[in-house]
């Protein structure tokens, strides 16, 4: 295990940058940006090293003992790296965006400090080797995202913060109870490919089902499953980079990733099926998909509409996990990445619109395509991806989910997928139509600068993420794409034939 220091370095780099940035005064912009970017770059290098290592079967793991018989474990299996790559890449993009977005705003050191700590938590969740470590970093994520949600310091921000805390801390409490219960049932186990609760057999069916329910409820809060999604729309009051990174990538994906870990590495998907818990999970996620899309339809505020579409999109992943079979698993895994790319494109472009033209609501978007063509182009790519139009990443996911469901004989899933695609179209196409084909009817609420489009630092990240979203779709079959990596995971982790 010579490379054992690499996972620690992956968690340590953002931690170090975060602490140093906390100590910086607000006006030291250059130093802070340099620190941020170098931290992001070092992180990307580490991730690349780990990707190459894991691709050819190498494994780094670190074990730190906290309490006799209980350790913090960091492992680098293929699933961990999928989420890690996504978060590292998008963190770099969003940092650049945030530097531009928050120019001469107050409390920037505090903002970027917590921003890096948030990535520490996400990395920790990705590399967690057992349920306890996953829980520890999961709670840290709550702690460090709260100050970002209430960063603006207004009364509404505090109210949104209270809502956010109410959901996440309640989820955390249920989770603490569930993790301790799992330790009581099966002792402190690390994640095992086929799940370690299998040996308990189905004689303790009731307590195992309750445990599964508690774990899913705990993680479901962050994965915005139906009854627990209330905090996501409320948290849109946060600045754009926060809502982009956290609610499109880090926080929401952490919940989905954790559910994948629970189903595949704690219970094992066959044992879960034997317990009969996958069915209700599928129904719940399907309902969330439809519910999210319907609520998105009724939202006039752009960011609220995107928030509700995130609620429904994340449930695709949970649906893919809940449907037995290799294809739907691959669909779920690859959607983890695709949805991240597409959603960050949408949020960043929405941020551009708000920052440059002060456009917050859909009805103000008439003719914005002409005023800011590049941003709207990126927004269009993201929107089409969401609907699942062929060349984009979204299409890849839906194909795999559909064929997986058909293979598992669950026809109603395909109906759900079709209906949700239709609903996506219903709430995205009017935006595109009014943006491109409607003339500008009213003056922009408050316009900054008369330049061609948004500022460079805001525009470049948006274009990059749009390119990624498109590229992932187009070059799906190339060995380096997330789809390949998803197939590798399902083949290595869950023992399905290629």
């Amino acid at each position: 295990m010579t490379g054992a220091w690499i996972p620690l370095a992956a968690v340590g780099t953002p931690l170090l940058t975060g602490i140093v940035i906390f100590l910086l005064a607000d006006w030291r912009v250059a130093l802070r940006t340099a620190l941020n970017l170098s931290g992001a770059f070092v992180k990307l290098v580490l991730v690349a090293v780990m990707l190459r290592g894991v691709a050819n079967g190498y494994d780094y793991s670190v074990r730190v003992a906290i309490v006799p018989g209980l350790d913090i474990v960091l492992i680098t299996d293929a699933l961990a790296l999928l989420f890690l790559t996504l978060s590292a890449g998008l963190w770099a993009l969003t940092t650049i965006y945030a530097v531009g977005y928050l120019e001469n705003a107050p409390h920037r050191s505090r903002f970027f400090g917590f921003f890096s700590l948030c990535i520490v938590a996400t990395t920790g969740i990705a590399l967690a080797g057992n349920l306890f470590t996953l829980f520890v970093f999961y709670e840290i994520l709550t702690l460090v995202t709260y100050p970002l949600v209430i960063h603006r310091g207004t009364r509404e921000a505090l109210a949104a913060g209270r809502v956010y805390l109410r959901y996440t801390l309640a989820g955390g409490a249920v989770l603490l109870f569930a993790v301790a219960w799992s330790h009581a049932l099966a002792g402190p186990h690390d994640f095992v490919a086929g799940g370690y609760l299998r040996e308990l057999g189905t004689d303790q069916r009731l307590s195992l089902t309750l445990l599964f329910g508690a774990l899913i409820a705990g993680f479901g809060v962050k994965a915005a499953l139906f009854p627990l999604h209330g905090w996501l729309p409320a948290a849109m009051v946060a600045p754009a980079p926060v809502s982009a990174l956290l609610h499109a990538v880090a926080v929401v994906k952490a919940g989905a990733f954790a559910i994948i870990r629970v189903v595949y590495d704690v219970f094992g998907v066959e044992f879960a099926e034997a317990l009969g818990v996958l069915g209700p999970l599928a129904v719940l996620s399907a309902f969330t998909i439809l519910y999210g899309s319907l609520r998105a339809l009724a939202q006039d505020e752009l960011k609220k509409r995107l928030a509700y579409s995130t609620v429904s999109q994340v449930s695709y992943i949970v649906l893919g996990v809940a449907v037995l079979g290799p294809l739907s698993t691959i669909g779920a895994l690859v959607h983890l990445v695709n949805q991240g790319l597409m959603k960050i494109t949408l949020f960043l472009s929405a941020g551009n619109l708000a920052e440059t033209l002060g456009v917050h609501h859909v009805h103000e978007m008439n003719g914005v395509g002409r005023r800011m063509p590049l941003t709207m182009a990126a927004f269009t790519i993201g929107a089409l991806g969401m609907i699942g139009v062929p060349p984009t990443a979204g299409f890849v996911t839906k194909i795999y989910l559909g064929t997986g469901a058909a293979e598992a004989g669950q026809w109603w899933v395909i109906v759900i997928l079709a209906a949700s695609s239709l609903l996506n179209a219903c709430y995205f196409l009017p935006i595109l139509y009014s943006a491109w084909f409607q003339p500008q009817t009213a003056p922009w609420p408050h316009e900054h600068g008369t330049g061609f489009d948004a500022k460079a630092t805001l525009l470049v990240p948006v274009l990059f993420s749009a390119a990624f979203a498109l590229g992932v779709g187009l070059f799906a079959d190339t060995p380096v794409s997330p789809l390949e990596w998803a197939k590798l995971i399902s083949q290595r982790e869950f023992g399905y034939a290629r």
């Binding site: 003992a65 906290i66 309490v67 006799p68 209980l70 107050p106 409390h107 505090r110 829980f135 520890v136 970093f137 709670e139 840290i140 709550t142 702690l143 709260y146 100050p147 209430i150 960063h151 603006r152 310091g153 207004t154 009364r155 505090l158 913060g161 209270r162 805390l165 801390l169 309640a170 955390g172 409490a173 249920v174 603490l176 109870f177 301790a180 219960w181 330790h183 009581a184």
Partner: protein, 484 residues
């Protein structure tokens, strides 16, 4: 230096320091106080290491040996409590050096009290000496005298603040006195039954007869009054709320723990023979009631110091939830870790409240907008100690709660685990409510300046409270080494 040498130093240093401080009066009391504080802290940590190295020590004071003379018995449990008192006590002394500095920098201690501020040092060192003597003693009556020493010095310290602290000190005195007398009735019954006052001799001679049960019940009742468990908690909030900041920190963080320690010593070391399952459940239920009652009260408080005082009532509840699950080996380390991180975090919180009081002149929770920008150190200390009190992962409080919860599951009583988790949620509500105001814009301008020591020490204590997360392993090793 053998264990005995460290123990003698630990016993004599605070008492000697107190007398010197008394005699030196206004001029050098603070200097003597701080020097003694660091000496005692060093001795207590060295004692903990010595015990973990060479196991239990039985020491006959005066050379007479057990039934006739007084024995001191230093095992893992005593060493841990002494170490906690040492570390937190040293930080409190530094904070007090700044707080009672000659020129008045805070509205908390009225200006006409300043010629008597030097009295803090002899009283505080006596309190500390009393606590050390209590943890080390293995003689029932000697424990009574140390409790009186602690009680009296505590009352003197509370009365330093004057004003409404006087009636609070008087109520505390009456209750502490009544508690001690109940304790003494128990001691008399045990002495009548077994003709010895030594704890370990009692353990070998105990047999379950009604008078022993009555004695144990009376002593426990007396101790519960001292550690302010739920039905007998009403004296704590006014006493800790109105006392000067370093005093309320010392009382909430350390003095409350002596009552808890004695109940643990009584029921886990001296009387395990008795069938006390029902009493254990009663203690657990009272603990649970304390957690919820304290939490609700803390939520309704307007002032920061009163909120922190009520949160002490709640946190004491957690400690007493050890008893229903005490049969599981990892329950005790969990409770001690919880006690340690609560001590550090609570002292830090009181110091933060003190800093806010010094800067803004008041500590109303609703109007401390933006202390994050105005007093960054205090805000970070408040956040970290809040995290430890709630029991969120990267903190000592979490490790303690985790051990208690897994002990509850191991003992097959999952409902205790549920209560601990819900209690944590409740404390999250009132602590983070106060913290949220720190981020509110626009920040209100404060005019004063916090004493130099207070902000720094509160940050150090907050880091200790979080750092205790990694102390679980050495702590359980110390307890096993001391099991002896």
């Amino acid at each position: 230096m053998t264990t005995a040498a460290w123990m003698e130093a630990l016993l004599a240093a605070p008492l000697a320091g107190a007398v010197i401080a008394l005699i030196s009066g206004r001029r050098a009391a603070a200097l003597v106080g701080v020097v003694t504080a660091f000496a005692t802290a060093a001795a207590s940590i060295a004692l903990a290491f010595a015990v973990s190295r060479s196991g239990v020590l039985r020491y006959a004071v005066g050379g007479w040996g057990r039934p006739l003379g007084i024995d001191l018995y230093v095992d893992g449990l005593a060493a841990v409590m002494v170490a906690i008192t040492g570390v937190v006590g040293a930080c409190i002394s530094v904070c007090a050096a700044g707080y009672f500095a000659p020129k008045p920098t805070h509205a908390d201690l009225p200006s006409d009290k300043h010629d008597r501020a030097w009295l803090y040092w002899p009283l505080w060192l006596m309190l500390w000496g009393g606590m050390n003597a209590l943890y080390l003693s293995a003689d029932l009556f000697n424990i009574y005298v140390t409790q009186e020493l602690i009680g009296l010095s505590g009352i003197g310290l509370i009365a330093l603040a004057g004003g409404s602290a006087i009636s609070a000190a008087l109520r505390y005195l009456l209750l502490a006195l009544a508690g001690s007398l109940l304790y003494i009735v128990g001691v008399e019954l045990l002495y009548a039954g077994y003709a010895t006052l030594d704890l370990q001799q009692l353990r070998d001679r105990i047999d379950a007869n009604p008078s022993t049960f009555a004695a144990a019940a009376l002593m426990t009742a007396g101790l519960l009054a001292k550690s302010a468990l739920f039905p007998l908690h009403f004296w704590l909030p006014p006493a800790h709320g109105h006392a000067p900041v370093p005093v309320s920190a010392a009382l909430s963080a350390l003095v409350i723990k002596t009552g808890f320690y004695l109940v643990v010593r009584l029921w886990l070391h001296v009387l395990p023979g008795l069938a006390w399952a029902h009493l254990a459940t009663l203690l657990g239920v009272l603990g649970a009631a304390a957690v919820f009652w304290g939490g609700v009260q803390a939520l309704m408080q307007e002032r920061l110091k009163m909120m922190v005082a009520y949160s002490t009532v709640a946190q004491v509840g957690y400690l007493f939830m050890l008893f229903p699950v005490a049969s599981v080996p990892e329950a005790l380390p969990g409770a001690l870790l919880l006690a340690a991180s609560h001590a550090a975090a609570k002292a830090a919180l009181f110091m933060c409240a003190g800093s806010v009081l010094a800067v803004y002149g008041h500590d109303r929770i609703r109007s401390i907008n933006g202390i994050g920008t105005r007093m960054p150190l205090t805000a970070v200390a408040f956040a970290l100690s809040g995290i430890s009190l709630i029991g969120l992962p990267p903190s000592g409080g979490f490790a303690g709660k985790w051990l208690l919860i897994s002990a509850a599951f191991a003992a097959g009583a999952w409902w205790w685990a549920a209560i601990i988790v819900l209690g944590g949620l409740l404390s999250a509500v009132y602590l983070l409510r106060a913290l949220a105001f720190a981020f509110l814009e626009p920040p209100i301008a404060g005019f004063g300046r916090a004493p130099w020591g207070m902000e720094a020490t509160s940050l150090v204590l907050a880091f200790i409270a979080v750092g205790l997360n990694f102390a679980a392993r050495p702590l359980s090793e110390l307890l096993n080494a001391g099991a002896g």
